[in-house]
Symmetry: C2
DNA sequence: AATTATAATAAGAACGATTCTCAAAGCAAG
DNA sequence: CTTGCTTTGAGAATCGTTCTTATTATAATT
């Protein structure tokens, strides 16, 4: 079960990369596994701390490739460090709790009812303005359990 | 009318700064006026482009002071540039349309009904996790009128 | 007004996260 | 196994941001 989910994940990633003429190398696979295991947005420092990704420059470059391929998403917000997470296509639509004190970010989800309200609203926004919505980002700002 | 609103604005800012033993200098007043006039989050480059704020280092320092005093808020999200806007106390609770293409950010507001749903939800979040919500951030991601 | 103490400014140096360069290593196809 | 092309890794370069420091402005006090 766990194994088949992982197979799906890697197959999907490989497909996305192929579409961009990019190979799914061991290094890139390691990155995807780190992000999948984390379950929350991680910094470059956290990626490197595991030891599975040896070179910082490669980590940045490959994350950038994965972002372009639509597999990974950049997350800003807590502090001045960029964080990375798997794209929602590979996880689930979710949101972030951002700690104003330490900058850490955790995931959470909201009821479908509310998500639907939001989507409806954004449809209206697109009618009013020239803006074309593709998705949304809902973060709760506050202090995390460690800092509170 | 416009004039009295501006007086209120500056009086409020001055009060906040005083509480932090900070002066409301001409340079800081210029910053506040730029942010108030913009009506959307602006980058340092945009702040300097006006010419009213001569030194980049001073702009950064003063914006940082204003952030600490609770007068200004940092906004991340579009590209890798930090943007600044007046704190909600001085404007109104609002949200952002973030262009994935050019990084520009525009303001918008949502119906009270929905805001209340969000606030209720975050109360529940705080009960479930150790996280203490202070506020939220709701951004629409998409392409702006210029880029779409 | 002059004095003094403290805070703010401006220019550039320093810093740090991210990106770029390029030689070496890896991989796929003939 | 070559040949051609991609990826890797180490470090240099870049660029947004912060820090340092000498100078200038401000406020308070005589």
């Amino acid at each position: 079960m766990l194994r088949s989910m992982e197979q799906d994940l890697h197959a999907t990633v490989a497909g996305h990369l192929r579409r961009y003429d990019q190979r799914y190398t061991n290094g890139r696979r390691a990155l995807v596994e780190i992000l999948a295991a984390a379950g929350r947005p991680v910094t470059i420092a956290e990626v490197l701390a595991g030891g599975a990704v040896p070179a910082q420059s490669t980590a940045y470059r490959n994350l950038s490739v994965l972002v372009q391929a639509g597999v990974v998403r950049k997350v800003f917000g807590g502090d001045d460090l960029t964080r990375f997470e798997l794209a929602e296509e590979l996880t689930e639509h979710h949101h972030h709790m951002v700690c104003v004190n330490c900058g850490s970010i955790e995931d959470f989800t909201v009821p479908n009812r509310l998500e639907q309200s939001l989507d409806k609203l954004f449809g209206q926004v697109s009618e009013t303005t020239g803006f074309r919505p593709q998705g949304h980002r809902l973060d709760v700002i506050g202090t995390c359990g460690n800092c509170g």
